[in-house]
């Protein structure tokens, strides 16, 4: 039986090819182009909302960013389960990459949400908005996940601990969701400057909206891919350094 030390499975499969792979490739370019196209389309070629005015345009970033962040965090949770099951370091590296990118999109979703709230609700922050509050706590959990990773030297332990945290966090989210739901249901709504109501989207707006989802998902996946490749290179470099030390 050959021994595969933890963390050395990737370099075994032709390290030269992996090193040669660029971190940013065509996929990333597509992602960036999609984002640029989204901005141009939403700002210049989509009419403003009749009620909310220009502020509504933040929707095209805000909601897709939100969805992208949930995608990324979902990948972290799934790959964590895979890691505890198979102990494959690739799953761990994907967890790490998607958690980091997830935090970026969560931050984007939260900040755009705050700007929108300032215009529509007249307040930067409202606790009774379920999504805002839930996302804030999710942000804290993902931040804790990344801090935990940074605080552990041993690779196998880091992978196990962070996988355990991610899986427990997946169990936690429904509980936070429920308690925030009960909390906001019992609250008196704050004065609202404008009634957002049910948005009536014109066909043009709808297309921009859907395109926003696609663009953000593409960009999110592109970033995770790039971050994953960075992780591969970093780990291989570390392996080479250790190999150099022992010789």
């Amino acid at each position: 039986m050959t021994t595969v030390p933890h963390g050395a499975s990737a370099p075994k499969r032709d390290p030269q090819a992996l090193v040669a792979k660029p971190i940013f490739d065509w996929f990333f370019v597509v992602g960036v182009l999609a984002m640029v196209a989204l901005y141009v389309r939403s700002l210049m070629f989509t009419p403003p909302d009749a009620l909310q005015g220009v502020a509504q345009k933040i929707y095209y970033i805000h909601i897709p960013a939100w969805l992208a962040s949930y995608t990324a965090v979902g990948i972290t949770a799934l790959t964590s389960i895979v890691y505890l099951w198979l102990h494959d370091e690739r799953a761990d590296r994907l967890s790490e990459a998607s958690a980091e990118i997830g935090l970026v999109f969560l931050t984007g979703g939260l900040s755009t949400g705050m700007f929108w709230g300032r215009v529509i609700w007249g307040a930067w922050w409202v606790w009774w908005d379920m999504r805002l509050t839930l996302t804030l706590f999710l942000w804290f959990v993902v931040a804790a996940y990344l801090v935990l990773r940074g605080a552990i030297e041993d690779e196998a332990m880091r992978a196990r601990y962070s996988a355990v945290l991610a899986i427990l966090a997946a169990l936690l989210i429904p509980f936070i969701h429920l308690s925030v739901y009960l909390f906001s249901a019992g609250m008196h709504p704050m004065p609202i400057v404008l009634q957002p109501g049910k948005a009536k989207l014109s066909p043009q707006m709808l297309v921009t909206f859907l395109f926003g989802f696609v663009a953000f998902e593409l960009f999110c996946v592109a970033l995770i891919r790039a971050r994953y490749r960075y992780g591969v290179k970093r780990d291989m470099l570390a392996a080479l350094e250790i190999a150099g030390d022992t010789r």
């Binding site: 039986m1 030390p5 933890h6 963390g7 041993d154 196998a156 190999a243």
Partner: protein
């Protein structure tokens, strides 16, 4: 026949930390009543090997069986093993007696008080049994730690540098106890960098360097003194 089952059976065991290979394809077989002294310089992987055998670390490759069973999955198999490591594994706020009694209870020893008294007596530390471990010197703590490890009369005793910190009396008590354990049929695995101490109690000797066992001998076969010189050079190399 039960005696044909090795007390410790280590096959092709490797253990890596990240990308560093601490133990590299080690085979060790130890039968009841035998005592293996494992020598080696610092960083040779002796402690890692001990922790793998004790079931504290998962081997990256290979298998470990104690009394024919796997320690990691078999709680009953664990109750046959005693471990003495660098760290005392004692609770400083508890007295010597409480520490040893706690261990006895964890192993389900029928009369924990009596067993603890006997173990402390064997290590010649009974008179300090009501002293909190915190207040004992390093050497006395080590005696308590040894008493804690053998209170359940294990069939296999793993000793990682057990002589460290012991004074002459403590060392003599330990050597005597190792002989008693052996004659009762226990298998011992002793890690040390002190060749004299190791050879004094061992039936087999081995040298570990850079994760590999580079020599493995039966002590009885050759003149012990010639060995000692050779081993000393190996360990120092």
């Amino acid at each position: 026949m039960p005696t044909t089952i090795p007390a410790v059976d280590v096959r092709g065991v490797s253990r890596t930390f990240g990308r560093r290979r601490a133990v590299d394809g080690v085979d060790v077989t130890l039968f009841p009543g035998e005592c293996l002294a494992l020598f080696g310089p610092n960083g040779a992987g002796k402690t890692t090997l001990m922790r793998v055998v004790a079931g504290l670390l998962r081997p990256t490759a290979g298998t470990v069986h104690v009394g024919g069973r796997s320690l990691r999955d078999d709680a009953a198999a664990r109750s046959q093993v005693g471990l003495i490591s660098h760290q005392s594994m004692l609770y400083r706020a508890l007295t010597a007696r409480e520490n040893v009694e706690f261990a006895a209870k964890l192993y389900g020893v029928p009369d924990p008080q009596d067993a603890a008294t006997r173990a402390l007596e064997q290590m010649k530390i009974l008179d300090r049994r009501e002293t909190p471990v915190r207040a004992l010197s390093r050497g006395l703590q080590q005696r308590v730690s040894i008493a804690r490890a053998i209170v359940h009369q294990p069939h296999v005793v793993l000793l990682d540098e057990p002589y460290t910190g012991l004074d002459a009396a403590g060392g003599a008590a330990l050597t005597e106890m190792l002989h008693i354990l052996r004659s009762a049929g226990a298998a011992l695995m002793l890690v040390t960098h002190n060749v004299e101490e190791g050879l004094a109690v061992a039936s087999h000797a081995a040298v570990m360097i850079a994760g590999k066992i580079v020599r493995h001998d039966d002590c009885a076969a050759v003149d012990a003194r010639g060995y000692a010189d050779e081993y000393r050079t190996l360990v120092l190399s």
